[in-house]
Symmetry: C2
Subunit: 371 residues, 2 copies
């Protein structure tokens, strides 16, 4: 590996790219000086560029960096990728660990697809590394074309708004930062070439076995043919969604301060497990517009999810469980709200993931499934 140029010695366009990421980190991510980040590095272009840019910004932002490369063991070249990632990190002066993940075994054990299992283990190992290193955040290399893919994935799954706007750049619950989320991937590759840093192309990115790849390879090119500025457009949508996320969070926080929900732990007589419930009082529901009520229902369900469905594997329990699929949930919550408006009593609504909503006397109780 060659000597990495400093920010001052980079060509102008690449230096500007780094400064844009710095601005994004300070303004949008609220990154504070002295932060310690674990960089998730696969050896691909995006994460290599992430490690490079953060190492160039580290002296300016007083960042403390370490890195983790995960060998998923799914491809014959996985060991090479991990060695390459370590070599890059060495050149950048970042200490890099490597962990092996048994994706196939995990997928078989938990009856999930390899794509989902891979993601689950990946985030779990990254979180473990963050805790071991006493780091504040995990830094991920997602860029604006990943964001467009994510918007389409969410559209297909039937996500609501602002979730439809795409993945957040900062996720405090999961300790994730995405410093490159508004960057164009071609600019990242150009930077790598200018710094003479190589990367490994992941052949599985071309496989149409995975939905994300099918969207990237088949659908997005058709949409970009209609609007060449599609990714920039989606970036603006993402920004507007972020404002709305903040708005609704604050509105619900204020409403819950005035009319708190009640968390109830139900002791099960026949069964040692305890199920948790959240009761939304009549006064709270009456104080809110339907647009706010629907989001309150979502928050209650997500709170029950995050509160910890019993996990089958300690490796995944370090992270909050994802909320159950939005597919089918919107329709049930809309039906629930209509029943509330009609003043119906004693009605039960089954939500995906085994959750239940019980409407009685103008109040609604959401309950966790009891395993």
């Amino acid at each position: 590996m060659t000597q990495i140029p400093s920010l001052q010695n980079l060509p102008r366009t690449s230096a500007l790219l780094c400064l844009e990421v710095e601005r994004f980190c300070l303004r949008q991510l609220g990154l504070t000086r002295g932060s310690h980040l674990v960089v998730a590095i696969s050896g691909g272009a995006d994460s290599t560029a992430l490690a490079l840019i953060l190492s160039l910004l580290a002296p300016r932002l007083d960042l403390h960096l370490s890195a983790l490369s995960i060998n998923h063991g799914l491809r014959p070249e996985a060991e090479d990728d991990a060695s390459h990632a370590q070599a890059v990190c060495h050149a950048l002066g970042i200490q890099c660990s490597v962990r092996k993940a048994d994706v196939k075994g995990f997928a078989a054990k938990h009856h999930m697809g390899e794509e989902e299992a891979g993601r689950s283990i990946r985030y779990s190992l990254l979180e473990k590394e963050r805790l071991t290193q006493h780091a504040h955040f995990i830094a991920l290399g997602h860029h604006r074309e990943d964001l467009s893919e994510d918007v389409l994935l969410r559209l297909i799954r039937g996500a609501g708004w602002p979730s439809l706007g795409g993945m957040p750049a900062r996720d405090d619950k999961r300790h994730l930062l995405r410093p490159l989320l508004t960057c164009c991937p071609d600019d990242l590759k150009q930077l790598l070439m200018q710094c003479e840093l190589s990367w490994h192309e992941d052949a599985s990115n071309q496989s149409t076995q995975y939905r994300r790849n099918r969207l990237r390879l088949q659908v997005l090119p058709l949409l970009r043919a209609e609007n060449p500025a599609l990714d920039r457009s989606m970036g603006h949508m993402w920004q507007l969604a972020g404002m709305d996320r903040d708005y609704w969070e604050k509105l619900l926080n204020d409403a819950l301060l005035a009319h708190p929900w009640q968390e109830i732990k139900q002791e099960q007589k026949e069964c040692p497990a305890t199920g948790k419930s959240i009761l939304l009082p009549r006064s709270l529901l009456r104080a809110l517009h339907p647009a706010a009520r629907l989001r309150l229902y979502m928050r209650a369900v997500q709170h029950l999810c995050a509160g910890g469905l019993p996990s089958a594997d300690a490796a995944t329990s370090a992270l909050p469980q994802p909320a159950p699929s939005s597919q089918g949930r919107a329709s049930t919550l809309l039906a629930l709200d209509e029943a509330l408006m009609q003043g119906r009593g004693n009605s039960r609504f089954q939500l995906p993931g085994g959750f239940e909503a019980y409407l009685k006397g103008g109040a609604i109780t959401f309950s966790q499934p009891v395993s």
Copy 2:
């Protein structure tokens, strides 16, 4: 044409479909008994089904129906389509007028594409017919797959939320109703077959010359392969968007009651035309969350648009002008809001369509282009 069965004599599934449309008209569209509607009928399946269903519901809802068929003169079979539409309306007991539209001439004169010109003349002729007939609304045959196309079109154009959720089912400014917006088109065709009503397939629907067709023929099948319930999912998204539209409208109405904007008519000394401006006072802008401010900017621009850009043709002036493309607008409004937050003064921002925003002393003035 055969005798049309009554609602009571229809097979159960088709009778239920009609009753669902009735429910949708009463609950979602707020259609009042005694309304007079002009049905836009092309002779295709969707508008034929619309005429049929409305004629079946007319006695129950005390509807007064008339119809208009527009011959766009673009296809050799256009005259046949219009005659067929008239025959269908005759069988349904609906009086149907036919108007000819010179789409090619209009497109050439106004330097627009045939798709846009066709839409512009169509809505203009429908609105003229509505006024002639003293009707309350124009009824359009859009169904839930049209809604999915519309969502994609809006995603490509870079629409914000709730606009991204798709076309409204009721548009009071343009006097439009879409009673079939949650219906599945296959169900509509089945109903037509059960009533032995034929329809004409529009060959131009298969042409990939138009963006809408490319999305329908090339993109939506790929998305439906990922989620066969995609259209239902988008229907829920549309419903949630409607709630949000209502929420933001009320919120801005309340804010504008407390801190009204000022409309200013600027007399131009050198030029006989007058340009209109809207001043958003500092007190109003300070009272709002960024999510609400962005929507206030949009409302100001739309108000200036609707206030009547001078129209080159009387045929299009009956309808409010569409707001300028959202492409490029979101980024400018985001930059404007950032400048406001930073307390910048004396800054001008150019918006698509020739509109301008001028920031000074914490207030913002939006101005119409002067022709």
